[in-house]
């Protein structure tokens, strides 16, 4: 029985870990390159979810093929990430790179607040539910438990694709290596003629798209409500901080750990499930601060 429970806990944890990873890798990338902790990341997640849900509802109402709801998940993420991402970076972040850290943090917190109200004004305050992408893929039975294919196959696959794709891009594509160069030494990069400002914009957009992707992928699994960004945000902080800000593979491992830790806790000590991510974060920061401090991407 116990091995079955472990398997169940694993499978539950995987879907959760996949989403958390996708969101936190964007956060960690932005910090690694721009040295800004983007609190608005949570809003990008939420707006991504709302946009994907709106597309899903529109598709259902227009009675076109429900299979189109899958590409719309990616399209929603792209639209939100690119438009909001560039708006935030160009209109605000660009002007505060030279300011004190607390002011930068507060600026992204302000964007978070503004977008929070914007969500309510645009989409209202009632919950949205657009589960077609989840339903279409059907269920799979493992032991006594039925899972949705979406949660235990599609989400982890996308997460792995993001991880591999990001690493490939940063290591082998020219623009990716330029990003790494700027992260490592901004002044030297500028000295050899790299347009640092453009690199910042590109990186922020990538991060924003990833946050929105997390949201749009999450949207079929849950009801979309105002405030859905706040819990996900602090969780991605926990992952990014425990992994070491700027570390991509670390974020994947930590997301998995935290996701599994949480679902295992639900089985053995349900009172502790919300505690797990923050305990891990605290312990890592206290015990291995070097992890946190190294900034190599």
């Amino acid at each position: 029985m116990t091995s079955q429970l472990v398997l169940i806990a694993l499978l539950d944890g995987i879907a959760y870990a996949a989403l958390v990873f996708i969101v936190s890798v964007g956060l960690t990338l932005i910090f690694g390159v721009l040295r800004v902790l983007n609190i608005a990341h949570g809003s990008l997640y939420a707006v991504g979810a709302y946009t994907a849900a709106s597309f899903g509802i529109w598709i259902a109402a227009a009675k076109i093929s429900p299979w189109l709801s899958y590409p719309t998940l990616a399209i929603a993420a792209a639209i939100v990430g690119i438009t909001l991402g560039s708006a935030i970076e160009r209109l605000l972040l660009q002007r505060i790179y030279d300011k004190e850290e607390v002011l930068q943090l507060l600026a992204t917190f302000a964007v978070f607040m503004i977008l929070d109200d914007a969500q309510r004004l645009i989409w209202g305050v009632q919950p949205y539910f657009a589960a077609t992408p989840l339903r279409l893929l059907g269920n799979v039975q493992i032991g006594a438990v039925t899972y949705t294919v979406y949660q235990i196959v599609l989400l982890p696959v996308v997460a792995v694709a993001v991880l591999v794709g990001l690493r490939f891009y940063l290591r082998y594509a020219t623009s990716g290596r330029v990003i790494l160069a700027v992260a490592e030494d901004r002044e030297a990069a500028r000295a050899i003629g790299i347009n640092v400002s453009r690199v910042y914009l590109t990186t922020f957009i990538i991060g924003a798209v990833l946050a929105a992707l997390g949201g749009s992928l999450a949207s079929p699994t849950t009801s979309i409500l105002p405030g859905m960004g706040t819990d996900m945000l602090v969780l991605s902080f926990a992952v990014a901080a425990s992994a070491g800000l700027g570390r991509i593979e670390g974020a994947a491992i930590t997301a998995l750990l935290i996701g599994l830790g949480r679902s295992v806790a639900v089985y053995w000590a349900p009172e502790l499930d919300v505690l797990v991510p923050y305990l891990i974060m605290t312990l890592v920061l206290l015990v291995r601060p070097q992890t946190f401090q190294s900034r190599r991407i």
Binding site: V111, D117, L286
Partner: protein, 335 residues
């Protein structure tokens, strides 16, 4: 600290007291603003060393719950007992947490505080049978220094208690800033290594300021809990910590009185904007702080000081006087 500045503070306190006396419906607003101001004052103290804590809500919450537990154990307590219990508990927590936390700086300092406050939040939220869970801990209305008052008188008395605490805390912080330890705090911000060279332990300096900031936040937490009759887990949520930082910068992080100015503005907008349209107060405040960050990073008080010096042509140290000491801390360009 000069006499003018002190007089100004006392005048402000009297004005607030008068508003509370003659306009009974403002009492709730005043108490909430001062409670958040006390918490933001804690942030101001730490900002003097250039550190920002994104988890100070944990002291706000710890004090509120400690006061609540004591009240529950005694079957109802006096406000003095609640304040003592709450502030003592949270200050102790500040000492314990501070000993670990002062090894870190900048983002790491902020994140560790965040993590700890979220651990506390989770505990408060989940242990329903002990803490009341997400509904919070109900607190019986305390007596006022031995007197059992009816609701209206209680609210007024609480306004006076809040004013006393706020005034006292502001003056205490100003004295602290002017003292050698407080000066060392500023030195930490500009060059910590040099501080160590002259034999001053930076960690000890930061720890002192951390404990003081915890005590200030604690006072705020007890006041809010006494007013609402409730301590909730949201007192410890990261957004509450963010609000305290927001208020400190809004008011002017270089000025202790800025914490209160920021709090009055913040709570004023929140309460009165919500009465008109529920979904714009965050938008308004968000835009305001962006404007402040871009154009007036010294906050509202900083702006006022700037205008005062410009228009009066008075020497800077005279006008800022009690408020800043020498030069403001926040708003300087990064080293």
């Amino acid at each position: 600290m000069n006499v003018r500045g002190l007089a100004g503070l006392i005048l402000a306190a009297l004005v607030v007291a008068a508003i509370g006396m003659w306009l009974p419906w403002t009492r709730t607003f005043l108490i909430i603003a001062m409670s958040k101001g006390l918490a933001a004052l804690g942030i101001v103290v730490l900002l003097r060393a250039g550190q920002v804590s994104f988890g100070h809500a944990m002291f706000f919450a710890a004090a509120a719950y400690a006061a609540g537990f004591v009240s529950r154990a005694l079957g109802g307590a006096d406000i003095a007992v609640m304040l003592l219990a709450g502030i003592a508990a949270a200050t102790l927590l500040g000492l314990v947490v501070g000993m670990f936390v002062v090894r870190y700086r900048q983002i790491f300092f902020g994140m560790l505080n965040l993590a700890l406050s979220m651990v506390l939040y989770s505990v408060l939220d989940k242990f329903f049978n002990i803490t009341g869970g997400s509904d919070g801990l109900r607190i019986r209305r305390p007596s006022m220094f031995g007197l059992v008052l009816d609701r209206n008188d209680f609210d007024l008395a609480l306004v006076f208690v809040s004013i006393t605490l706020s005034l006292g805390a502001t003056i205490a912080v100003l004295v602290y800033f002017a003292s050698p330890l407080g000066q060392a705090l500023r030195a930490m911000k500009s060059n910590e290594t040099r501080l160590e060279y002259i034999g001053v332990s930076a960690r000890l300096v930061l720890l002192t300021s951390y404990i003081i900031s915890a005590a200030s936040s604690a006072a705020g937490g007890v006041l809010l809990a006494a007013l609402q009759g409730l301590a909730s887990p949201s007192f410890s949520y990261w957004i509450q910590s963010g609000e305290f930082v927001f208020i400190a910068i809004l008011g002017g992080a270089a000025y202790p009185v800025g914490a209160f100015v920021g709090a009055f503005i913040f709570e004023g907008v929140r309460i009165y904007a919500s009465a008109f349209a529920n979904d714009i107060w965050e938008l308004i405040l968000g835009l305001v702080i962006v404007v402040i960050i871009l154009f007036a990073p010294r906050g509202v008080v900083g702006l006022a000081v700037q205008m005062a010096t410009r228009s009066k042509g008075v020497s800077r140290s005279d006008a800022t006087g009690v408020m800043a000491g020498v030069t403001p801390a926040a708003g300087d360009s990064r080293q």
